[in-house]
Symmetry: D2
């Protein structure tokens, strides 16, 4: 049995495990005030060419989204998100639990356009309505797509014009940055976003998301907000050690490239066998459509996420690769699929 | 200048004012524990044939919605509402501010169907998603439509089947109950709803909404929730006195019928003059579409709400009548409109 | 039976009722945007010599406290209050329900001192603790005492020095302002406080508290916060009409003086009969201590609040007078008390 | 330089690191649904002889406290805590941020008594006050003391009688359980508490707290609450692997005993040298009082927490030992202290 269910099925990249092991008995102060965290912060600032950015390390993605929302917004201010956005779908109302409305914008490909942002803002005015203030986007998105540099710049401009914060959830940032169709550099991010996260959990560390705040207006007292929401890790060093290890020598981009390469191989192979895709993606999540009979057979040896029923007989599934996926797993899957096809499944 | 802008442009029905005047110097205990409130509660229970219902009096509509949401739901439970629902549009995120997500369901006519409720529930399962738990509907709706008894029963059944609470916002309940196309009795409400409000503000009292809770599971400690949200009036008597006055001799239904009758006369007159409607409604809110040139002329003597632009040259407006609208205002409006039409506006 | 239980046992001062009656059928826009509200705001600004102050009208005391807390503070910021403060004792956790901690400071007389504020601030530092940001005081206090102008100035200075907002809950402001021992002028309030309320409910109107915001930093978007908490009255005019009526010709101070005078007469009479006081107060709440046997007799003809048991045989009660208390009620009470004393109760 | 500042200065016990290393590349499902977590849960249930208890693994102490508060209480219900309780002092208002008041009870030794609980409940009744519903205690406490089995039973009884949940924060549970003066068994905990945490962070794991819920009424939907507060770890396995490792062969109690033994040696040695203690404790936190001159010298080679100034010249400090403290560190500290004493510091 091999699992393509998600990109957090294993522990951490060996380099990260080794860093944790080597530093294990060094005494440090708590709560992210240690030198490992400081070094990891410095690495990020340097990569981003954003020397005055604030960098915080948090444990998980829902957590960082909710703390950012609580910290950045006043109570009547709202978040604008594509309908596929993680906070709208898979965070059990975490942003609403901090008191904020999230405005849902229809989106087929998981992305927002400047026009959509203008429309939602135009529809919300006056004291009887929430005020849109923060735009939530993700890269790569929840459906595997990615923003080009031009798209990101266009969102940046509309947000500036409308006095909105542009926040990017980078749970799968590495895969977004390194995908062939829509590559981004660290400084592209720092230049266009008010805040963004660098997702570690899905790209090689045990756990952890770095939050980079480039907009000075959002920096004050963030650590107090973290503590209040239970998001300040006692042994904060663990995050610093891991991020230092994964960011050194661009390991973070290398692990992401690996995941993308294998997913693209998988996607191309599935297409070559004649199966349709729900959406063509350039990153590490792919969405083939198979017959339910085929899936019954496949599920004996592979785990995957059922994304949605297409009709009575067909289902779109999600296959995800990661830093830990061996190329053989992809090859074997394609061979197995070919064999099943030949059995007319 | 006459205002058709809304149904809360004046004070209270003379019978209500008289009741307040007559009781003004009687000493009573505070917070709704007085005998006026008790009498008003008894009147409501009797009308509804719901002798074990709990009845609470609150000041305003957004307030009662938010206290009900805070009281009825656990933190991860969500409200299902048509996209036109007041909490989604005109309450500045009041329900979200109590920590709850409101799930928006597309709706052209301001109403929900059982099928829509089934769909939204089917799409939400597991611990990563909010759990739909309360269905928010209004009658008459925010766009002037109304549920028939059959429609309400169907919603009741689907809610029971899916373990959902059915909550009706009755800000304009009188107009919903008395409209010719979809009449409802008090006991229809009590039999199909877990909780509903009887809106006073828009139907003859100075202010006040009565909340009727028929589901025993929702009754406990409601007054504590009211107090915590600032919704317990010190001189609670004012609500009891007013509701007693407006409910006696079915004055509440009479004032609503008056509003409906005049709005229907207005709607029919406008149609007869050849103007289109955005939606045909049976209650006290109507939505004609006029040219902007006509509106420029009309707005010299009439106030109304601009609902939405239809195209560059035409706008849908909302005209609202109330217990206080004199029939002459309607007649004059129609005469004026006819005159403007003859001027080719 | 006569009730000295509280100062909100009756309706409104006749002048207020008359104003409501006279304006009842005038059409106005909603939500406090009408000219009555504007006139009442202008009156308050003028009295306070604070022409740039923002003035909002809300329905109740707990409501205004919670909206102010939600609007003025960021999530990790806390309120400092004497342990007797209304939000700590009688608001069912309304401020905490907006997400904020209220820090309790021991106080015998219901007042805070600069030293106490310095102490609580010194004890709270760093990101693991809430940050004290708003000081809650009341005048007159929950135990009937009142701040002198000098005391208020001293609090103002310590708050400025420590970057704290000074907020005064004026639920019984009139009685505080007009008490002989600690008189205050409108401009004393505006000069020393960042925000304060002018309580109407307990001083002659049916309901309503005016919130005066003098600190520019606290003004932005307050109406959005009101709406979000269900605190924006549809017929906002009712508040404007009432405040205009009660503030004209200083009726507000006159009604308060009346209440103070009668309470002081009552307090002096009780003392003269040899009964001890829990605390000597200069305002409209007094706290005599009687034997339980005496109270059994008294309670046949008078209502009052039992404040606290002093020992097995004695109880401190609270007697409250108001704008509506007739002098004869006080005289009769003292005669009855004298008679009971002669019966050795 | 050696740090006695806290018990989370290092990484994890070698057995825990080894377990993480060995399982690193095993694929598992996410969010704590893996078999490692299941095995760790089974271990805990077995030790506690509480086979129907629910066990959840969370990342940190403030996090588990706030999720429990949000999950267990309705909005108007409050927590009762000694004034020294972590949520009142060092969680930046995390419980209040979920909307709940925490009632502070004065305590010299960090513990609550049944009488104190009865008093606070007696003082809170009716719908204008919060309702005490959950009692927060910790063992060992924030000041190093510990509850005996008898004390815990007495609290259990008063809580049952008053319909309160008894919740124990076990951030330092191992040190509480194994201290000579007040030992507790796993089943003592399960029998007397409605819910309690088993703190891992301070006793040998990288991070993690296990929450044991024995009261059926508190079990429903806890995972939804976790997710909503950002407390569900994607790689939940990390918690299962670590708790399995630290609980096997009672390693958890062994590491705690080690910490206690060294702290007690340190405390006895300091006393033997004639220095006073702020409070005598039986666990791994000790509170000696030294002159500021002595501390200036000590701080050149030791880190510690300054607890509080005793007078102008003396300060109480906190010294903490852990599973990682080598006995030589204690011996050297005592030698250094002796040498400083001989220099008359």
């Amino acid at each position: 049995m091999y699992s393509f269910r998600n990109d957090y099925s294993e522990g951490a990249h060996p380099a990260v495990m080794q860093a944790l092991q080597e530093t294990n008995l060094v005494q440090t102060p708590g709560y992210g005030t240690d030198h490992y965290c400081e070094e990891a912060r410095a690495l990020i600032r340097e990569k981003c060419a954003a020397l005055t950015a604030d960098v915080h390390f948090l444990v998980g993605g829902t957590q960082v989204n909710l703390v950012a929302c609580a910290a950045f917004l006043r109570p009547f201010e709202a978040v604008v998100s594509p309908c596929t956005g993680h906070p709208l779908v898979h965070e059990t109302g975490a942003l609403e639990a901090t008191g904020h409305m999230v405005l849902s914008v229809p989106s087929e490909d998981g992305k927002l356009t400047p026009e959509q942002i203008r429309t939602v803002c135009a529809a919300h005015s006056g004291e009887h309505m929430v005020r849109p203030r923060m735009v939530y986007i993700s890269d790569s998105t929840e459906v595997g797509t990615a923003y080009t540099k031009e798209e990101l710049s266009a969102l940046h401009q509309v947000c500036k014009a409308l006095d909105l914060y542009l926040y990017l959830d980078g749970a799968r940032l590495g895969c977004g940055m390194t995908c062939a169709a829509a590559p981004l550099t660290w400084s592209d991010l720092a230049e266009t976003l008010d805040a963004f996260t660098i997702g570690g959990t899905k790209n090689g560390v045990l756990f952890g998301e770095a939050l980079v705040i480039t907009n000075d207006a959002l920096k004050a007292d963030f650590r107090s907000h973290m503590k209040q929401r239970g998001a300040m890790l006692a042994k904060g060093r663990l995050l610093g050690i891991q991020f230092r290890a994964i960011l050194e020598n661009d390991l973070y981009l290398e692990t992401a490239r690996h995941a993308n390469t294998l997913a693209q191989k998988l996607q191309a192979g599935i297409e070559a066998l004649g199966y349709p895709l729900f959406i063509q993606t350039p990153t590490n999540q792919i969405f083939p459509i198979f017959s339910n009979r085929l899936l019954t057979a496949l599920s004996k040896t592979y785990e995957y996420e059922a994304q949605q029923a297409m009709d009575e007989d067909h289902t779109c599934i999600r296959l995800v690769t990661s830093w830990a996926t061996p190329e053989e797993a992809v090859d074997t899957f394609l061979q197995d699929l070919k064999a099943l096809k030949e059995q007319a499944l």
